[in-house]
Symmetry: C2
Subunit: 201 residues, 2 copies
DNA sequence: AGGTTCGGAGAACGTTCGTTCTCCCTTCGC
DNA sequence: GCGAAGGGAGAACGAACGTTCTCCGAACCT
């Protein structure tokens, strides 16, 4: 009996669940979580309300599933962008080029976790927790990248702050050049701190 | 007939209006805009619903008034913090110490404009515009500070991105040390760019 | 003093929305 | 062929909320 493993696999593989989450992701991100009702979601996903509620017990559980989905997407895409870079310096700066492309896309509406936090954190502690976990993971990832490149852990924090600031500023002002400004700031930070020749522990 | 001037003065001076805006500010910031109903606001402000609607035509207009109020507060407090610093370098870094104090306060829940944008932008273009104007003004302010200190305008943008990133990250993760990390990043950026001895135009 | 206007408390109205229920049709095991 | 289970469409329900209305008392002007 491999119950636990099977359940987890099924969770991602179930095509019905997947269709719901993808439809919810598009609608929620484009219009906001509260602005999209269960009726609109059921119509967009092509799934009846009744069936929706057999797959998910509540709207909140769908929101959480969407946040999980976005977290995986973000982590995968960042990792892919980083993997394309050969030099440590390029790997540390890859995030800003990724952001630049994202900011220029028509659908860009800021970081979904920031939006979810602003919209739902007061009434859904679970959403607040997911947002915090996402930011914590991103921070750790940048710290790891920094250390692997021979820089201090704190440099990773600083690069994360620039990326975060670029996301919210670009979302609110619609100015996609923030990615480039963040990148140039990051380059300056790299030039200050001399990479240390230590092996990552 | 000095209609325009009088109207503007009255707008800020009217103590009833002021009481409503201050109560709304506290409630909205602590609980979110949608979470606070007009009943709750009328009770907290000690103003009957009827009177509320004689002063403001709608909830949206109250939200906008609160955003104006916060914008003035932010601008004033930042300016005061900057004014206490004697050196150009100190003036550029003052923002991060201000943020540090803010982040540590119990009531800190992030930037109200970011929250308002996430909660209301899709259904209230006026709110989206106010948020964009606020960020634009803050950006211009930092650019001006940078130029006055003999740095490039772009350095101001970079310092703004760090401040923005610190605000959202501190709000979501609850980690108030982001202000210090942003400050150290800013110090590093200052150390890279040599101040030019040009007079601000 | 008396009528009129203002304002307070809160009920009422209309809408939206999350969630559940009803009704009906389809499908499938036997 | 037939009864039972499942699922679709959408009505129904209850709660929340923005906004308006009702009723009533108090203050003010002449």
């Amino acid at each position: 009996m491999t119950r636990q493993g099977d359940a987890h696999l099924q969770k991602s593989a179930d095509p019905l669940r997947r269709r719901i989450v993808e439809a919810a992701d598009e609608l929620y991100y484009a219009q906001g979580f509260r602005a999209v009702g269960m009726d609109a979601l059921s119509q967009r996903a092509g799934v009846s309300l009744k069936r929706l509620y057999t797959v998910f017990p509540s709207k909140e559980s769908i929101v959480l599933a969407v946040l999980d989905y976005r977290h995986r997407m973000w982590a995968d895409e960042i990792a892919a962008a980083v993997a394309q870079e050969a030099t440590p310096r390029g790997r540390l700066l890859a995030i800003y080029d990724y952001l630049a492309g994202w900011f220029r896309s028509d659908s860009f509406r800021g970081c979904v976790f920031v939006n979810a936090f602003g919209e739902l954190a007061t009434e859904s502690p679970a959403v607040a927790t997911k947002a915090a976990e996402h930011k914590r993971d991103f921070r750790r990832y940048m710290e790891r990248l920094a250390v692997e490149a021979g820089f201090s852990e704190e440099l990773g924090d600083q690069l994360m702050l620039l990326a975060e600031g670029a996301q919210t500023t670009a979302a609110i002002t619609g100015d996609s050049s923030m990615a480039l400004k963040a990148r140039r700031a990051a380059e300056a930070l790299l030039s200050v701190e001399e990479p240390v020749q230590t092996q990552p522990v």
